[in-house]
């Protein structure tokens, strides 16, 4: 494997050459990497003069010379579990950790594996599927991921395959000023159904810049959960591309809790009639945390539906950005698209920004957006206190209530319960979890 070469610095070209010198893979994959790298070189490092990066402060990240992460041992006990998940894929520093994973009892007509495993068994499958979805072409970190990715999760359900149990995928980074580029490729053929939980986490200082491709064919159903719980000093810059066929249904639950800077760019293409997509985002921030969601939903066909609710709860000097575009193409009549962003500020120094945008080129559609930002309602706080509930607990109850409907939209019980505990813990308002959830 390569010696430590900077994979994110002003010396990109040597880093790329060093990285490529040691790779043994099909030519097509090398070509994809080269194209991605050229795209990154053309885009360059984002600046705040660019509209898409105006509100994302990358200076702290840019000042670091991040290295490729070496292999590092991680104890199984240090990783979260999900009761009902039978299938589990763990990646440490972006590389598959078979000893921490569990891939037994695989159902028929289903492939759940690491990209490396699939490459070894059926290289065509990876070559034909990777980087096939449109979108995020202008996103430099997606380009860097396309250049430097080493491994990832590969999930493929044949037509009609139904997975009863969630697939649990953990991307864990061990820090030490490293850059990690995880991959997730999900393909649901016609009528397939899957439930996926992805967790990003780690220790120390690092960058995780994942790329997720979700290809959901006609009539397929996906429930996707993403829990970003990176270490406090970490950076998370992710891209998600979602393409949906006719009559397909997806729910994406995007939970952002960790990192000093976290940003997820999501591009949704509703590429068939009656496709529906629900986006449920929640940011919980404190200290100097920044968390951004940049979302673009493209309605390309009639009768599509998209429902977005992005919430944030911000304490201290935390900041959040929600930037959402609904684009309705001229012939995408009968589109029903809703977008809502709601922000609760717990401190006068917290800042929530909301940039909802509609680009509607069809004339027979229902589209709407709304945005609200505010502090806790002092009348509600007084009401609770007037019944004997201490001030700190009253505030925690109100915050919890604000965030709770985001959690309630999650049908996967063990995950929802874990998130509820996480939320109660994060409120840090002198209340026990019992106070909030019983």
């Amino acid at each position: 494997m390569t010696a430590a070469a900077p994979v994110l610095s002003d010396r990109h070209r040597p880093a790329f050459d060093a990285f490529m010198a040691n790779r043994r893979e099909p030519d097509k994959l090398s070509r994809l990497r080269r194209e991605a790298f050229e795209r990154f070189e053309a885009l360059g490092w984002p600046t705040r003069q660019q509209e898409a990066w105006r509100f994302t402060d990358l200076s702290a990240l840019q000042s670091l010379a991040l290295q490729r992460a070496a292999d590092a041992p991680v104890e199984a006990a240090a990783l979260p579990t999900l009761d009902t998940a039978i299938h589990r894929l763990v990646f440490i520093n972006g590389r598959f950790a078979p000893g921490l994973s569990k891939l037994t009892e695989l159902p028929e007509r289903t492939v759940i594996a690491s990209l490396g495993q699939v490459l070894a068994a059926d290289p065509q499958a990876v070559q034909n599927q990777l980087d096939q979805l449109p979108g995020l072409a202008q996103h430099p970190f997606t380009a860097l991921n396309g250049t430097f990715w080493e491994d990832g999760a590969f999930i493929y359900l044949l037509p009609g395959a139904v997975l009863d149990h969630p697939i649990h995928i953990i991307f864990h980074a061990t820090g030490g000023d490293t850059a990690v580029y995880p991959r997730l490729l999900v393909m649901l053929d016609d009528g397939a159904r899957a439930n996926i939980v992805v967790e990003y986490r780690g220790q120390g200082r690092y960058l995780q810049a994942p790329v997720v491709e979700l290809s959901i064919d006609d009539g397929a159903v996906l429930e996707y959960h993403q829990l970003q719980e990176e270490a406090p000093q970490a950076f998370h810059l992710g891209g998600i591309k979602l393409q949906q066929g006719r009559d397909s249904q997806t729910q994406l639950h995007l939970m952002s809790f960790g990192g000093q800077l976290a940003r997820t760019d999501l591009e949704v293409l509703l590429d068939g009639e009656h496709a529906s997509c629900m986006l449920n985002g929640l940011t919980v921030g404190r200290d100097n945390q920044a968390s951004n969601f940049y979302v673009r939903v493209d309605h390309a066909h009639p009768h599509g539906s998209s429902q977005q609710l992005f919430k944030s709860v911000l304490d201290d000097k935390a900041r959040s950005v929600f930037d959402g575009i609904i684009h309705v193409r001229p012939h995408a009549q009968k589109t029903d698209a809703r977008q809502n962003s709601r922000n609760l500020l717990l401190s006068k120094q917290a800042l929530a920004q909301s940039n909802p945008r509609l680009e509607i080129l069809a004339d027979d559609v229902k589209c709407g957006h709304g945005s609200s930002t505010g502090f806790l309602d002092p009348n509600a706080e007084f009401y609770l206190r007037a019944r004997g509930i201490p001030a700190a607990q009253a505030r925690a109850m109100l915050v919890y209530a604000f965030a709770n409907d985001s959690l309630n939209a999650i049908r996967l019980n063990p995950l929802r319960e874990r998130l509820a505990r996480l939320l109660a813990g994060r409120l840090a308002l002198d209340s026990t979890e019992e106070d909030l959830t019983s």
Binding site: A380, L384, R387, M397, N404
Partner: protein, 256 residues
């Protein structure tokens, strides 16, 4: 039980209460009547400890303790209850959970362990019948989407569950039809007892047909203009506040 002495209070710098003296003993029901803007609700809010109501003079003692030094939640834990004129909607907090949190907060203050789940359920059901509340309201968010009457019933229901020693009802009758009024009055009457005191604030005499007070006070321009027995309420019903009201609504006008 509750002693108010020479109470002066301001809201946003304007004097609303202008020297109130009032003593309510355990077992008594006192009614405070008065025209709009006379300071009735200010008195209720000062007693409950709402922010923005500044006491400039005088004192309020609750069983001999200085009530005004206590945080609102401590007043509640000491046994004080305010039935709000405008109950607050709290989306996302279930009524039942809110009640349990309140009951347990009071128990914790008294050094007691959290309420047993079954005991709590029994108590809730018994009290629900008292105010003829539907069980579905327990699972709904606090006051969210409740009608005016449901909100007021919910206040009385909370009072019945929390069983305070002293309750202030701030215009609980306003906006209620006669059936809802009866339900609210029945709830209050069921809780009347030798250990408990009530201060019933109302603009209309009507409520006092159902909650018969021991004493009636007329509040005008932030001060008690007259006190008497329950017959005073009837007199007011006939003659209105004009007799007391040389400067009608002075406080309200000043605040506007």
């Amino acid at each position: 039980m509750l002693e108010i002495r020479n109470l002066h209070a301001t809201v946003e710098g304007r004097e609303i209460l202008n020297g109130i003296d009032l003593t309510v003993r355990a077992g008594e029901v006192h009614a405070i009547m008065g025209p709009n803007g006379s300071g009735k609700s200010t008195l209720a809010n000062v007693i409950a400890g709402r922010e923005g109501y500044v006491v400039t003079e005088g004192e309020v003692l609750f069983d001999g303790k200085n009530l005004l030094e206590m945080e609102p939640e401590i007043r509640a834990c000491e046994g004080l209850f305010l039935a709000f004129q405008y109950p607050v909607e709290i989306p996302g907090v279930a009524n039942l959970y809110f009640l349990k949190a309140a009951v347990n907060a009071v128990r914790k203050y008294r050094g007691e362990s959290p309420v047993d789940a079954m005991d709590f359920w029994d108590l809730v059901h018994e009290r629900m019948e008292l105010v003829k509340m539907d069980e579905s309201m327990l699972k709904r968010s606090v006051n969210e989407g409740f009608s005016g009457g449901e909100k007021k019933r919910n206040e009385i229901f909370q009072m019945a569950v929390l069983q305070p020693r002293f309750a202030v009802l701030d215009e609980t009758d306003s906006g209620l039809d006669i059936d809802a009024l009866r339900v609210v009055a029945d709830g209050v009457n069921a809780l009347r007892g030798p250990e408990r005191g009530f201060l019933v604030i109302t603009h209309y005499q009507r409520l006092l047909d159902y909650i018969v007070p021991d004493h009636v006070h007329v509040l005008v321009n932030g001060r008690i203009a007259r006190s008497g027995g329950k017959e005073l309420a009837l007199e007011l019903e006939e003659q209105g506040y004009a007799l007391y009201n040389e400067e009608p609504g002075r406080a309200r006008r000043a605040a506007a």
